[in-house]
C-alpha cells in the first residue's frame, strides 16, 4: 500500500520509494528520512484530499497526494 492510504493516527514502516520518481526527488526524500524501514505515523488528513501530515523520525512533514502515492509502506512490522 502507499502512504496516501494511511489513515489518521495510523502507523507503518517505509517499504520503498517508487522507482519512477525523479532522482533528485528520491534523494531528497531519503535525506528527509523516507528510507526503508523508517517508522512513520500519519498525524492528520486534510479535507478534499488536501496534503497529509506525517511524522517521520524527529520531523513533521506535509506532503501532497501525488507524492504520497509514490511512497510505499508496510503496516506489518511496526515498532
Amino acid at each position: 500500500m502507499t502512504l496516501w492510504e494511511l489513515h489518521k493516527g495510523g502507523t507503518a514502516n517505509i517499504s520503498h520509494l517508487c522507482e519512477h520518481l525523479d532522482d533528485s526527488v528520491s534523494t531528497r526524500l531519503v535525506e528527509m528520512g523516507f528510507e526503508t524501514d523508517q517508522y512513520i505515523k500519519c498525524l492528520r488528513r486534510s479535507i478534499f484530499s488536501g496534503p497529509l501530515v506525517i511524522q517521520i523520525g524527529d520531523c513533521v512533514y506535509s506532503l501532497e497526494q501525488a507524492l504520497a502515492e509514490q511512497i510505499f509502506i508496510s503496516t506489518s512490522n511496526n515498532n
Binding site: G33, S49, Y61, S62, L63
Partner: protein, 605 residues
C-alpha cells in the same frame, strides 16, 4: 580578512546565531539569476558569512542551487578558515544528515569544521542531557552546545572561535567523511538513537497546537483571522508611517527649494525629484510593515501551515501552497512578492506565480482606486444596509485581480508557454516547531526589505520621473497641453477614444505605464490642479463635473486592475526569470487585456 562560513538546515536558528555573533552591522549580497541573500558581518578579526539554510547539499530548487554553488566556491577560498555547521538539538537526526554532508564538503577543501548544537535550552527543559563529548568524538569534530536565544554558551563559543580553541580538539578515532547518501542517513539515524532527545516529547506541544491551527473548521477561522490582521496592518499600521515619509519629503522640498529660487531647477526638484521619486518612497514603510508581519509568521512557524492550508485550493489553478505568500505580498508591492517566489521548488509553478503576481492589487493602485471609486460610487450608500458601497467596490476590485490571476494561472499551467519549465517538484514541506520570534533577525529583515526595494526600483523611477518631467516641461513656458507630452497625448488620443477617454486620460495612462501611481498626479496636473495626490476629493469633483460616464469609469478601473504599469516590476521579473522577452511580453499582454476589458465595459455598460 579571514572568513568563517555559517551553514545549516532551515529552522535551525542559524540567523539568530549569526546576529548574536556579529552584532547589528551586516551586509547583504544578492546573487543574480535568482535572488539568494548571503549575509556577512564582522566578529573580531573574522568575517562571518551566513549562507541560506538548505535541506541538503544535493539541490532541488534554483535558490538552493545558487546557495550551494556559492558555498562550494567559498569553502575552497584560501581566506576561509573554518566552517561552522549549526544543528537543531531538538531535531538531531535530520540536522545530522546535513552536518555529515557539510563535513565531506569541508574535508574535500581541507578546511576544519565545528558543530553548534543550538536550542540546547529546550532540550534541557525537556529534562534531557546530550552527551556532547561523545557526539563530538563520533563526529570527529568539536561540538558546542548553546542557545542563540537565551545566550547560553554563546560567549564560550565566541571565545573558542576567536582564540582558535577548536584546533586543540583531538578525536579518539579520526573520522573519515561519509560519501554516499545511504551511509550519511544510516549514520545519522544511529547517532540520533544514542544521543537525541525522545522525539515524541519534543513534538507533543507542536502537535497540540497543530490540532487547533490545522483543524478544518477552527484552522480555517484562524487562517482568515490572521489574513485579516495582515491586510489591516498593511493599510492601517503603515498609514502613519507613510504620512511621516510624505511630510519629511515635503519638508525637504520646501527646505531645499528655498535656496534654488524660481526657475527650471526648482521646478525640476519639485516635480521630478520630490514629486516623482518622493511619491515612490512613500510606499517603503508599507513594504517594511508587510515584511515584518510575514517575518513574524515565518519565524513563529505558521507560514508553513498557511502553505499547507492553501495548497489544495491553489493546486486547482496549477499553483502550489508556496505560491500563497508571494500572492499575499503582492498586495503591498509586486517587487518583494516576485522575489519571495524563489522558495517555490517547482520551477514551472514558480514561473506561473511570478507571471500572475502583477495582477494582485498593489498599494500603488490604491490612489487610483480611491480617486475613481469616489467619482462613481456615492459615499453614503450602504449595501444590505451594513456594508458601505465604496468599501464593497474596493473589495470587488481586489477580488477581480485575484480571480483574474487564478484564471490566467490555470490557463498558463495548461498551455505550452511554460513548457520549458516542465519539471515538476512535488509539494512537501516541513512543519517546524512553533517558536516565539526573536527581534534581531526580524529587525534586519525589515530594514533590508526597505533598502533592497529602494535599490532596485529607485534608479528606474528616477529616470522615468526625469523623462516625463522633460517632456511635460518643454518647450518652456508652454501649457501642458502644448508641451511635448501634450502633443504626444493628442497624437495617441485615437487609441483611447474607443474607451471613451480624451487626451488627458490618454497622457495620464501613458505616463502611468511607467509607474501607475503617477496617474492621479498626472490627471491632477492636466485638470489644472496643484497637489492632486493629497486632494483626491477635489479632483474627483472636477472629474464628476466633466461628466465621465459610468461605463467608461468602470472600464478605467478594470484597466488599472489588470494592466502591468510598473517598469520596476518588469525589471524584477527580468532579473528573477532571466527572460527579457517574457517580462516585456507580459507587460504588453496585460496592457492588451486591460484595454479589451476597458473597451467592453465602455461599450456594454
Amino acid at each position: 580578512m579571514k572568513k568563517i562560513l555559517l551553514v545549516g538546515k532551515p529552522n535551525c536558528g542559524k540567523s539568530l546565531l549569526f546576529n548574536q555573533l556579529t552584532g547589528l552591522r551586516q551586509k547583504v549580497a544578492n546573487y543574480p539569476g535568482v535572488t539568494v541573500e548571503i549575509k556577512s558581518g564582522a566578529m573580531g578579526e573574522y568575517e562571518v558569512i551566513d549562507f541560506p539554510g538548505t535541506y541538503s547539499l544535493s539541490t532541488m530548487s534554483i535558490d538552493e542551487q545558487v546557495a550551494v554553488e556559492q558555498l562550494t566556491l567559498r569553502v575552497n577560498d584560501d581566506e576561509t578558515e573554518l566552517v561552522v555547521c549549526v544543528l537543531d538539538a531538538t531535531r538531531l537526526e535530520r540536522s545530522l544528515v546535513f552536518a555529515l554532508q557539510a563535513q565531506l564538503l569541508a574535508s574535500k577543501a581541507n578546511k576544519p569544521i565545528v558543530y553548534v548544537l543550538n536550542f540546547i535550552d529546550e532540550v534541557k527543559r525537556f529534562g534531557h542531557n546530550i552527551d556532547i563529548d561523545g557526539l563530538a568524538n563520533e563526529l570527529g569534530a568539536p561540538v558546542y552546545a548553546l542557545s542563540a536565544r537565551s545566550l547560553d554558551g554563546i560567549a564560550e563559543f565566541k571565545n573558542a572561535l576567536l582564540n582558535a580553541e577548536y584546533k586543540n580538539f583531538n578525536p579518539l578515532v579520526p573520522k573519515i567523511p561519509l560519501e554516499t547518501t545511504k551511509e550519511v542517513v544510516d549514520f545519522s539515524r544511529a547517532l540520533a538513537k544514542t544521543y537525541a532527545i525522545n522525539k515524541d516529547v519534543v513534538l507533543k506541544n507542536q502537535n497540540k497546537v497543530d490540532n487547533f491551527l490545522l483543524n478544518s473548521l477552527f484552522g480555517s477561522f484562524a487562517f482568515l483571522a490572521i489574513m485579516f490582521v495582515l491586510f489591516q496592518s498593511i493599510f492601517t499600521w503603515a498609514a502613519p508611517l507613510m504620512d511621516g515619509v510624505e511630510t519629511i519629503i515635503a519638508g525637504m522640498a520646501v527646505f531645499i527649494t528655498q535656496f534654488t529660487g524660481q526657475g527650471v531647477v526648482t521646478d525640476f526638484l519639485n516635480d521630478a525629484i520630490f514629486g516623482g521619486v518622493g511619491s515612490f518612497l512613500v510606499f517603503v514603510p508599507q513594504i517594511m510593515v508587510l515584511t515584518f508581519i510575514i517575518g513574524l509568521l515565518e519565524d513563529s512557524g505558521y507560514l508553513a501551515r498557511a502553505a499547507l492550508i492553501c495548497h489544495k485550493p491553489l493546486s486547482y489553478f496549477g499553483l502550489s501552497g508556496r505560491s500563497f505568500i508571494p500572492y499575499l505580498s503582492g498586495h503591498a508591492c509586486a517587487i518583494p512578492a516576485i522575489m519571495a517566489a524563489r522558495t517555490i521548488e517547482s520551477p514551472r509553478k514558480r514561473l506561473i506565480t511570478m507571471m500572475t503576481i502583477p495582477l494582485m492589487s498593489c498599494s500603488a493602485r490604491l490612489p487610483v482606486y480611491a480617486l475613481l471609486v469616489s467619482v462613481f460610487i456615492p459615499s453614503d450608500v450602504y449595501w444590505l444596509g451594513i456594508f458601505n458601497l465604496q468599501g464593497v467596490t474596493f473589495f470587488g476590485l481586489y477580488m477581480f485581480g485575484i480571480v483574474t490571476a487564478l484564471i490566467i494561472s490555470a490557463l498558463l499551467s495548461r498551455s505550452s508557454i511554460t513548457d520549458h519549465e516542465k519539471s515538476e517538484m512535488p509539494f512537501i514541506i516541513e512543519l517546524p516547531s512553533y517558536r516565539l520570534p526573536h527581534w534581531k533577525p526580524l529587525y534586519h529583515r525589515v530594514i533590508n526589505s526597505g533598502v533592497q526595494f529602494i535599490k532596485r526600483a529607485a534608479p528606474i523611477i528616477f529616470m522615468v520621473a526625469v523623462g516625463i518631467w522633460v517632456l511635460g516641461y518643454f518647450p518652456m513656458n508652454a501649457s501642458l497641453e502644448e508641451s511635448w507630452l501634450g502633443s504626444i497625448g493628442h497624437f495617441v488620443e485615437p487609441i483611447f477614444a474607443p474607451l471613451g477617454l480624451d487626451w488627458r486620460y490618454g497622457i495620464a495612462i501613458l505616463m502611468s505605464f511607467l509607474a501607475r501611481e503617477v496617474f492621479v498626479g498626472a490627471l491632477g496636473t492636466l485638470y489644472g490642479m496643484e497637489g492632486a495626490d493629497e486632494n483626491i476629493a477635489g479632483l474627483a469633483q472636477n472629474i464628476m463635473n466633466d461628466g465621465l460616464p459610468l461605463g467608461t469609469g468602470i472600464g478605467l478601473l478594470l484597466f488599472y486592475v489588470v494592466a502591468l504599469q510598473c517598469v520596476a516590476t518588469v525589471a524584477t521579473l527580468k532579473a528573477e526569470t532571466g527572460n527579457s522577452k517574457l517580462s516585456w511580453g507580459l507587460y504588453a499582454a496585460y496592457g492588451v487585456l486591460a484595454y479589451i476589458l476597458a473597451f467592453l465595459a465602455n461599450a456594454l455598460i
